[in-house]
Subunit: 499 residues, 2 copies
């Protein structure tokens, strides 16, 4: 038998590591971003939007090489053969924007920006190649006033989103204090080898939560073998130096005098260290003046933030409630954002150092947390009321009723499909409609309309076993005059909304 020519059809599938966002999440996200925006607005920050891609050389860090440009970022050539890359964060575009427009900007320049960023990395469960960030940064202001403000906003955002006191904490540290400690044990200067050692120390401390003090000690000394047998080379410190750093990471708590005294002990006469302590004290004074308490924003020497480029205060927002971890165990929900001071922001463009400090909220992660807490559920748009089409010759009448409902600010839709009554009821169920409007031959003759309450109907159906009784009783259904239709629907919608 001769086969017909086979038509080759593309397979409809979302690209690997990407996802579609459905109605519920779009709405909840919109609400969430709006709340964060309001906090930043109230502090006098202004929004900015940069484009999805930048010239790869301006984006920096991941400069494409000729053959394999996609190292961590998505890159392509425009028709001038210039390499462009999708932004991998919102800080690099800010640096480009500030460098390009520096003279015309108010100084300090304070902006917020939200939007998707893209990473060309291996996707995994909960790990996507496109995700949302929400950043706020201040450019052109020294520590500690601007940094204190950034920390306040982070705490205010979590508070505004309905996360209870005690369930979140913004942990603050200062890189200069750590630098003071490192100076005391002989790690300082710009030598590349020293830089690497310094970064290794930072990364080790960053793992304190996961590995505990003993694991971190191994990483500070010769190195550590993990459960799979893989060996991570350490920073090569001696036991005394490693202990000094571990002691430092234990200085947690507020800025009370005894803490400061401890810090003075570990930092000694290092001028960098002393600067860090002064900045920290300054931040604390401002936070206190603004009414923030230690259970909202707290000093914690174990916060380092792995990235090399921070130069002063660093901070991390953490949600402290317990949740199921990835491996099934129970643990704190963890970080939903972080930031700090990075005074090299536009240096690569302009050659001058312009101080900057900022914070980035991991919007998708925070969304997961709010879903978990049920903090988003009350913000949903009510499902629409459906006006069913019983008689296709009366479409104009159904349209009129739908418009009347809508004019009364009831979310309402005319069923626009071509299917019969059964499919229409199924559709109304799928949409989660609070009620449907049914006007058939009898109702048209009598000038009435029947309204069926689907929520109440579903509840009642759980208690009625007799199908005949059900049908004859027509529960959760009422027939009203056409003039009374809007009032009747309104009553049902607001009754269910209030629940």
């Amino acid at each position: 038998m001769a086969k017909k020519n086979k038509v080759i059809r593309p397979k409809a599938r979302v690209p690997r590591g990407l996802r579609d966002v459905r109605a519920h999440e779009v709405r909840a996200m919109e609400y969430m971003l709006g709340q964060i925006r309001q906090v930043y607005d109230s502090y006098g920050f202004e929004p900015l939007e940069t484009s999805a891609f930048e010239y790869s050389d301006a984006l920096g860090k991941f400069l494409p090489d000729d053959d394999r440009p996609n190292e961590g970022v998505f890159s392509f050539q425009d028709d001038d053969d210039q390499w462009v890359s999708l932004r991998y964060d919102l800080t690099a575009p800010l640096a480009r924007f500030v460098a390009e427009n520096y003279d015309g900007l108010p100084k300090p320049f304070r902006r917020y920006q939200t939007g998707p960023v893209w990473r060309n990395e291996k996707p995994g469960p909960g790990r996507f190649r496109q995700f949302m960030q929400f950043d706020a940064d201040t450019v052109g202001a020294p520590a500690p006033v601007a940094d204190a403000e950034i920390a306040m906003m982070a705490a205010d955002c979590l508070d505004r989103l309905g996360i209870a006191r005690g369930q979140y904490i913004v942990r603050v540290n200062n890189r200069k204090i750590l630098d003071g400690v490192l100076e005391k044990i002989g790690i300082f200067g710009n030598d590349p080898e020293v830089e690497l050692q310094r970064l290794t120390v930072l990364r080790a401390i960053d793992k304190l939560d996961r590995l505990g003090p003993d694991g971190v000690r191994q990483l500070l000394r010769a190195g550590r073998k993990d459960v799979t047998g893989d060996f991570t080379k350490g920073a090569g410190l001696n036991d005394e130096a490693a202990q000094r750093i571990l002691t430092f990471t234990e200085v947690t708590g507020s800025n009370r005098l005894n803490v400061l005294a401890n810090l003075n002990d570990v930092v000694g006469d290092s001028s960098t260290g002393q600067e860090g302590i002064a900045e920290r004290a300054g931040m604390h004074e401002l936070l206190e003046a603004a009414g923030f308490e230690d259970d909202q924003i707290a000093f914690d020497t174990s916060v380092v933030r792995g990235l090399g480029y921070y130069t002063g205060p660093v901070m991390e927002a953490e949600l402290t409630f317990e949740t199921e971890g990835e491996e099934g165990g129970v643990g704190r929900f963890g970080s939903v954002g972080g930031g700090g001071r990075y005074d090299g922001l536009v240096q690569r463009f302009k050659g001058i150092e312009i101080p900057a400090t900022g914070f980035s909220i991991g919007v998708s992660r925070l969304y997961t947390a709010l879903e978990h807490l049920g903090a988003l559920s009350t913000q949903e748009t009510a499902a629409p009321v459906i006006v069913l089409v019983m008689d296709r010759d009366r479409l104009a009448d159904y349209q009129r009723m739908t418009t009347q409902l809508r004019q009364a600010e009831i979310r309402a839709e005319l069923y626009v499909g071509a299917s019969g009554m059964r499919a229409q009821m199924k559709y109304a169920d799928r949409r989660g409609a609070p009620c449907v409007v049914i006007v058939g031959e009898d109702e048209f003759a009598a000038g009435t309309a029947t309204v069926k309450d689907l929520v109440e109907g579903a509840e009642l159906s759980q208690h009625i076993e007799d199908n005949v009784e059900w049908r004859s009783g027509r529960p959760a259904q009422q027939t009203v005059s056409r003039d009374g239709l809007v009032a009747c629907v309104k009553e049902i919608v607001s009754r269910h909304r209030a629940k």
Copy 2:
């Protein structure tokens, strides 16, 4: 003299054809999108967000070839060597989404989506490579109910955005009526040559606004030479056929009986044409039932929409107020969106025809129109009040005042820079601050605060010529007790806001 090694710095510049969106526009856009969203919500549509890029084969139409993939779209390969492309509209991703999730969707499926799209085209003045669209589509519903609803929403959006009656019009036509006319003059069937001729006719009619009937007649017949001498090949119709089409395009106005009679004349017994007339009559009946009038949504046979893929009702939203045209002349503002029925939406994926109809608002274009009308200006967020730093040892006190203002829901910021009084005043001016709070040595001693009204100050300074008088009079400035600070600032802010 030996030169120092030159450091090569990247130039900070936004990629060609892209742009940064500043605070004013971000806020106005947010307001605008919110209004449109509310209209679509009220009709029972649900939001959807797809990702920025799709597999190129699923995106269709611009399938990349091996060497030069970027024909009209931005394409690149992911690490599996699959081609992906940035979306060039929001319809192609909808087709992919519907085909991928068809069985699980409510039917009809009605969604809206907004976001940036990207075109790899030559940029020009007002022509960008990233721009915003806002689409609403109904999948799985036949004409004309769903189409009438789409037209209503387009009109409601313009209305909601404050465009006055008479300044906008949604013009509606039906491709089937035109097909009936073409059938009568012998253009029908699926032959590629006929398809091309048909498309040439559509494109000719689409230029009626710009070229007038005589220019279009040339394009319907042998062809047309433009002012630069370039020749565009025509559809090759004879004079009678061209006249028949031109007569058809003159049938403008509402659905009154005489118009329908005219249509019957030109369409004759073509069943496709008659179907189109019936759909048009059906739409009109629904629009009338919903209270829309001819000055909002009108039948207009000159609307064709150039694209080949429309299969039924087509529509275009136009702003009719006069504005300066590109060449300096005065003309109507023109189209801000368009759409129609395209029943081949998911056919390329699934091989079955699923009817769809939708509308796409050109958000950036509409934004320009609203700016022109001044319809966005009242929506601005008030500029913040600035608390100046007169004494750096008193930062905590300034922070306290700032927090108090903010707690009273006044947008307020503490000056976070390091500069002196002069630069701070300049900063406050740049930010457009309604007033600044000044607390120096005298005020601290007396427990007071000075509030300087910058708006009033600027007005007064136009009338005072004597610099000495100005300084001694300290106009637009008042000193109040610290307890009275919030009330004083609040009064100034609301006074200027009301203007």
